[in-house]
């Protein structure tokens, strides 16, 4: 759904195609943002879940579609991303712009040899020259040009150095149209075997690179420090806590100071006056603007509760992603994640789950086996609250005491461990161990950071907005039509008896089906005791994934899986909630 278009999609008219190719972490997206105008879209390659960015490149009067092909280490099609890269190359693009990494010449030259075997007109950018110099490596681009038989332009993309020279070289190549410059033809023998490619690449790198004195920068030292358990682990916990704090605190600030006054001060009154002026049928009017009316709770919950948190989370998650912090977290916590039956990389998807389960479950596509993908998805659905729910839970529970927050988090952790232990045995298949290249720690480049952030937010709105509006409409109709009271009476034995919650809390249980954080919001309006608040918070944390998560699981896996996860999370939530309620009342009676 959303922005997925086939390659050479209709959004940009059928123009010649330039492929931006290179290993991961070489700064390809920085080139992409410098070479394209603002009109940039994120698409999915048809038939796969691999997404890539597309934009327009102008060479004089001619217009081309430039494609930021997903970064890969080889073209042996060992992963979906590599298969997409290979199929792009097979489509015979007009030119390839290959980004070499001066700080890791061997690795990037090896991949370059694989790409050159496709005999596509090619231009090289030798990027990260500054990083290489700091590491004491000087690379002669003239030698590389001779070795690779194509232009090699030294660049420092983040500072825009060399970009104009690169444009000129690329435009010159595009002018010559079909002229095939002398390619490095001695490739036939070795293109099939990685080890032979590595030998050739090492020889070329040795001839082109020379030693110089090392000038380690602060960022390099910090990057190394973050890889050592001390000070790495405390630093990592600090970063995770800080980013959640920024999101919860910042979200709350944005909500209280800006969005809530805006919503209840101007937007809702405007709709109130407008709808009442229509003097519709009283039931319809109350469904639209009653105290749980569509336009009231729609704006209050989506604009004032969901938006601030999800926006802030995406802002700082994109930063952590671009800076190279996340792979360091994966390495530091691989031991613990392995004990949970998954691997270090899954921590990144689970951390993304604190933002919103929808993008997190989409991100589990990166998992190499179905078992890992399913386990991480289940763990997210069971025990990881999304941002807006975290924010709402925090405001709800801190009103009583911070200890309540710790208690609820503790319950979540225990459930997470149990779920992973059970699923680890129940699901067939295996989880591949962590194999991860640790990139340099760097300051993200603003332009490509903002372009990625924009594309991320657009994707979130396209995918989550629909289910949220349905949820609000469902809630409005349910409450204003009085259906809720009837359902409340029917469920009372379960809700009031087993969980010890007032009937009104039924609203939160049912709304939890629609959007998880909506199961917390109504709790705020009921005056609950600390025990009831604790049980209510636990139930809403463990509760059924919301309708947009249900939708995503059905889309990414299948409907059966979505139903299985929904049923098991609901059962667990009610079971754990009830048991805790009875234990605490017992405890209260004894003391």
């Amino acid at each position: 759904m959303g922005l997925s278009t086939a390659p050479g999609g209709r959004v940009l008219e059928k123009a010649g195609k330039i492929l931006l190719v290179g290993p991961p972490n070489v700064g390809k997206s920085v080139f992409f943002s410098r070479l394209t105008n603002i009109h940039v879209i994120s698409s999915n390659y048809t038939g796969t879940t691999v997404s890539f960015m597309e934009g327009t490149y102008r060479a004089g009067k001619a217009r081309y579609t430039i494609v930021d092909v997903p970064g890969t280490y080889s073209l042996m099609a060992t992963s979906p991303a590599e298969e997409v890269a290979v199929s792009f190359l097979r489509e015979g693009p007009d030119a390839v712009l290959f980004i070499l990494n001066a700080a890791d010449l061997e690795g990037s030259v090896k991949l370059a040899l694989e790409v050159m075997a496709y005999q596509v007109p090619i231009v090289f950018a030798l990027n990260l020259v500054d990083v290489a110099e700091r590491k004491g490596i000087h690379v002669s681009h003239a030698v590389l040009e001779r070795e690779l038989g194509a232009p090699v332009i030294p660049t420092v993309a983040v500072r825009g150095r060399g970009i104009d020279a690169l444009r000129r070289a690329l435009d010159a190549l595009l002018e010559k149209k079909r002229a095939v410059t002398s390619y490095f033809t001695g490739l036939e023998g070795i293109v099939g075997s990685q080890s032979a490619l590595w030998e050739r690449a090492r020889a070329i790198a040795k001839r082109a690179a020379s030693r110089a004195d090392r000038r380690i920068s602060f960022l390099d030292r910090l990057g190394e420090a973050m890889l050592r358990p001390w000070p790495g682990v405390p630093l990592a916990l600090l970063i995770l806590a800080a980013s959640l704090g920024i999101v919860a605190g910042g979200g709350e600030l944005l909500r209280k100071k800006l969005l809530l006054p805006l919503v209840s001060g101007t937007i809702v009154p405007f709709f109130e006056r407008f709808i009442t002026s229509l003097n519709l049928h009283p039931l319809l009017e109350s469904v639209l603007i009653g105290n749980y009316g569509f336009f009231r709770i729609g704006f209050e919950w989506i604009v004032a509760l969901v938006m601030p948190y999800v926006l802030l989370f995406q802002v700082q998650f994109a930063f952590l992603e671009d800076s190279g912090v996340l792979p360091r977290l994966a390495v530091l916590f691989d031991g613990i994640m392995r004990k949970l039956g998954v691997q270090g990389g899954s921590l990144i998807q689970m951390f993304l789950g604190f933002g919103c389960a929808v993008p997190a479950i989409i991100a589990t596509r990166a998992a190499t086996t179905k078992k890992e993908r399913l386990m991480v998805t289940a763990m997210i659905c069971f025990a990881i609250p999304c941002t807006s729910q975290t924010g709402a839970l925090l405001t709800l529970l801190t009103a009583y005491s911070p200890w309540l927050v710790a208690a609820v988090a503790g319950v979540g952790a225990v459930v997470l461990i149990c779920v992973s232990a059970i699923l680890g045995r129940a699901i067939k298949g295996r989880v591949d161990p962590l194999v991860l290249e640790v990139p340099n720690l760097l300051m993200p480049e603003p332009r490509s950071y903002f372009k990625k952030l924009l594309a991320r937010l657009r994707q979130f709105l396209a995918e989550a907005e629909g289910p949220m509006l349905i949820a609000v409409l469902f809630a409005a109709i349910l409450s204003e039509s009085g259906l809720l009271e009837r359902v409340g009476h029917a469920l009372r034995p379960i809700v009031s008896g087993w969980l010890g919650l007032p009937e009104g809390a039924v609203m939160s249980l049912i709304l939890g089906i629609i959007r998880r954080e909506m199961s917390v919001a109504p709790l705020m309006e009921l005056q609950l005791t600390a025990r009831q608040m604790f049980v209510g918070a636990v139930v809403s944390l463990l509760y059924l994934p919301c309708v947009s998560v249900f939708g995503i699981i059905a889309k990414e896996f299948n409907a059966k899986m979505a139903i299985v996860i929904s049923a098991s999370t609901t059962a667990t939530a009610l079971l754990v909630g009830g048991v805790l309620n009875h234990l605490i009342t017992l405890f209260e009676r004894v003391f």
Binding site: Y73, S74, Q194, G335, L434, E437
Partner: protein, 74 residues
């Protein structure tokens, strides 16, 4: 020509890879029989092994590191 597994081998030394498990990404990252790597660090509590190869740092989960056989490089 047996080797010892990378996970157990002492840190801070150069090793030549003797045998590699069938994990495709290893070859794409340059870890294949004959490659020389520096074992920088092994993380406790079942954590991964960090190796340095050319200018790259690669983290290898315990189960992969245990199935990579290496010989100490002179």
């Amino acid at each position: 020509m047996t080797g010892r597994d990378l996970y157990a081998a002492p840190e801070g030394r150069m090793y030549r890879v003797v045998r590699v498990p069938d994990v495709k990404i290893l070859r794409s990252l340059g870890i294949f029989p004959g490659a020389v790597v520096l074992k920088k660090k092994r993380y406790r509590l079942g954590g991964p092994v960090l190796v340095e190869l050319a200018a790259r740092q690669i983290a290898l989960g315990k189960d992969v590191a245990r199935s990579i056989l290496v010989k100490e490089e002179a």
